[in-house]
Structures are given as structure tokens and as C-alpha cells.
Symmetry: C2
Subunit: 251 residues, 2 copies
Amino acid sequence: MATGRTHRPATRSRGIPEATVARLPLYLRALTALSERSVPTVSSEELAAAAGVNSAKLRKDFSYLGSYGTRGVGYDVEYLVYQISRELGLTQDWPVVIVGIGNLGAALANYGGFASRGFRVAALIDADPAMSGKPVAGIPVQHTDDLESIIAENGVSIGVIATPAGAAQQVCDRLVAAGVTSILNFAPTVLSVPDGVDVRKVDLSIELQILAFHEQRKAGEEAAGEPGAVLQARKESGKGPDGDVPAVMPA
Amino acid sequence: MATGRTHRPATRSRGIPEATVARLPLYLRALTALSERSVPTVSSEELAAAAGVNSAKLRKDFSYLGSYGTRGVGYDVEYLVYQISRELGLTQDWPVVIVGIGNLGAALANYGGFASRGFRVAALIDADPAMSGKPVAGIPVQHTDDLESIIAENGVSIGVIATPAGAAQQVCDRLVAAGVTSILNFAPTVLSVPDGVDVRKVDLSIELQILAFHEQRKAGEEAAGEPGAVLQARKESGKGPDGDVPAVMPA
DNA sequence: GTTTGTGAAATGATTCACAGCG
DNA sequence: CGCTGTGAATCATTTCACAAAC
């Protein structure tokens, strides 16, 4: 270990903080909704409320992209939609494969939001021969044997793993070997990947466990806690919900 | 806004950092695997590798829980499993309701990892009368009309929302009014909740968009980038994958 | 008057590096 | 010795607060 020391003065073209990147999709969603209602401009305050963050954070986030607002007025909705889309790379569309067409994989394939912005389900892959050819969400399932050629033929660089935990690492290795460089992992396992491959994970039981932790604390405080008041009022946060941070990782 | 100022000297019993809380489930999973293989002890180095973090971080994380290791030896696997489970509130079991039994809701209901540790699907709720009574994952779906009584009768404090975006806020409001104080939201919307309620969100399209951002950067660097070398080697990180941070928020 | 854009301060998280314990 | 536990240093993110732009 300790390969890359504190070095790396390079590769810093226009470093947008990871935390900011993770919020851009949120802004984009709020802006898209405004756009559909033909709202021409928004203030940082309004948009922040719609996205569930605070306005100072939003302005700072946008400042990394450039100066796209007008003082005294706000931001042009359409223009911002375009700028953020471009920044996120959504002006092109990304072919995606889903591997593991069980309950979850099928649900993902059917998920509308997939196609909505910049993503296209290029193929569904499953190891069960009985599934082969069966259409799910209108797309015929293909067999794992053909994984490499499917990736190659469709120019896929993003893969979604929805297999059981036991198969995930193996599938991941094959995806990476075939040229996939971004993986969204729904299997409850830690994937190891070579440098240059990004992995993000979505894990139901982890989320529930984090909620349970807080839930337990609430129960504890209710009983013990400060003698006097308190009952709600946890942490600050001006109003709406807030925060959120990424989980990427260059591996 | 600006209600809770910088005040709040109280309520700080034993503040475990949020980032640490988010990693405890990861450690727990790795430890459980070791436990099943009857491994008696692990070093921070080994466990860190299994959990995909670095060992300094892991030791620091554990230091917030107490001194559960033995210098020169490592950590007792069983003991740590117990301590972390207790810390996360998994020694009791949490009844959970899932609202919205479409493709995704059904997939969640069928998800094994649910029951595995501390969670129990107490009820499935859907607005479609045609679904009522139909069993999913062996549990009969109940109608939204009965939401309040279902929550009350089962003492549910954790709710999972898997409805379409349009229905999510309304469902959320009813859950909260009925006594739910932790929500896991799969609908692509920002939920607003009163103080004291935690919301975590899982959003497929946000994750994909973040991946697309990085994917685009890779493509860009390949073409432009530094004149000389570079091709892989992004960011540092000693070896394995790393990082990850939470998204809770007391609201 | 309003609202952006941003330095500077404050807070939080990670990493270093090593003393101290078994 | 080996490995934990932890202060101190570094790095990242958020928040403040206000000058500049409209």
C-alpha cells in the first residue's frame, strides 16, 4: 500500500468536489420539474428548497460549474438544466447492462427513470438458462456465456450487478475484463476492482441498519435524555431535510 | 429557518460520527462472515481489507465504540459482532412496513437480507384494491386505507416507501402521522418530514448519473489529459476500494 | 432592493505516525 | 515483537457573511 503518496499535482483539470457531484442529480431533478411547469427562473433559495438542501450550499455547488446565475434575479432554468446535464455527461446516452434478472433485476429493468435521462438498458443478462430469451420489460434475457460479446457489441461501459452476493465478484471481474469501467452494485458484497474502475453500491440492509441506529437513539433519549424538555428537535438544519454524500471510489 | 443555532450543548451522550455509523454495517457483515467460518480473531488490517476500508479508519471507528481489541492480537470476532449489533440496535428486531408493492416493492419483500438481521416485514401495503389479500413473499398485501391501524397494531417505527414518486409524500405524511420515525425512500422525490424523523433515500438514477459523470471524465482524460503517461491510476487509495459516506439527516 | 458568487471561518472526516500494551 | 488506540496533521465539506452585480 501507500502507493500514491500525497503526490498527484496532476489530473486536476477542473476538480468538482465529490459531494457536489452527488448533489447535481438532485438539482437536475428539481430543475426538470420546474422546466415542465415552464418556470423561467429560480432563485437559489427556491431551488434549494425544492432539492432539499440549503441555499448557501447550492450556490457554492454551482460556483464550481461556473457563473450561471444573474444577481438580483436568479438562475435561468433551461440554461441550468443544460449545463448540469452536460456536466454530468447526460447529453450522450449510456448503454447499460443489468446482470442478474431476479426479482430485483427485473424491477430495475422495468424502472422508468432508467431510460428517462441518458441511460438505455442495452441488455439483460442472467445465468439461468431457463431465463434465456424470455422478455423482461420488453427486452429478451441473454445468457451469461455471452457477457463479453454483449458488452463489446453494445459499447457498454456501465454495468449493474443484481445477482446474489455469491456471484457478484465473479460477474464483476468479467464485466471489468470486458471493458466496463463503472459498476453499480446491488449485491451485498464488497467488490474489489482494479484502478480506474468506479463502484457504487446500493444496499438495503445497510440503510436499514443505519436507520435502526438512529431509531434506537431516539428511543433511548426519550426514556433517559435531558430531564426537562426535548422530544423532538434533533440537530439543526434550517428546515427541510438536508445533507447526503457520495460513495464513489476510484478503487 | 435558522431555528437551532449553533447551540445544543446537550444530547451529546456518546456521539458516534455519522460516517462511522454508516460503516458499522459493513464491518458487521465482514465479521459475520468470519464468525461463520469460526475464525476467532482478526487484526484491523484483515478486517479492513474484508470490509473494503483502510485499517486506520477502522481502528478509529472502533475507538468510538470503546476499546474492544487486544494489542498485539486483534479483535475477538464474536465479541465484536455482539458489540456492533448492540450499537446498531440489532439485538431487538424491528418491524418494518413496505408501502407500494409494485415490481420494486415485491423485490424488496422477497429480499432475504431483510429478515436476516434484526428486521421483520410486518406488513405490505398497496393502494391498488386488486392487490389486497394477494400474498407477496408469503405475506398478504393490505390496503392503504388501513395504513394507520397496521402501523399502530404492529408498533412499526420504520417504513419503506416504494411507491411512484407522485404518491410518496402523501404516504410519507401518513406514515409519520401514524408514528413512523424512520423512512427509507425508494421513490425519486425529496420528502419533507418534521423534526425527529430520519429519511434515507435510495435512488437508482442518481447513482447512475454520478457514475456517468466519472465515466465522462475518464473518456475526456483519455483523449486530452497529460501528454505523457496516465491511462489508469486515478486518485490515491493505497489499494482496495475505499470510502463511502452516509446520507441520513434528522430533518 | 434582491440575489449571486465567494473568501474566510467552522466543522467534520481521514490519514499519519507512534506511544503503549499485551 | 505485533497490533491497537489515539493525539496531531491533513484534507474535505459546510456554513457564514458580505461585497459586487443587476
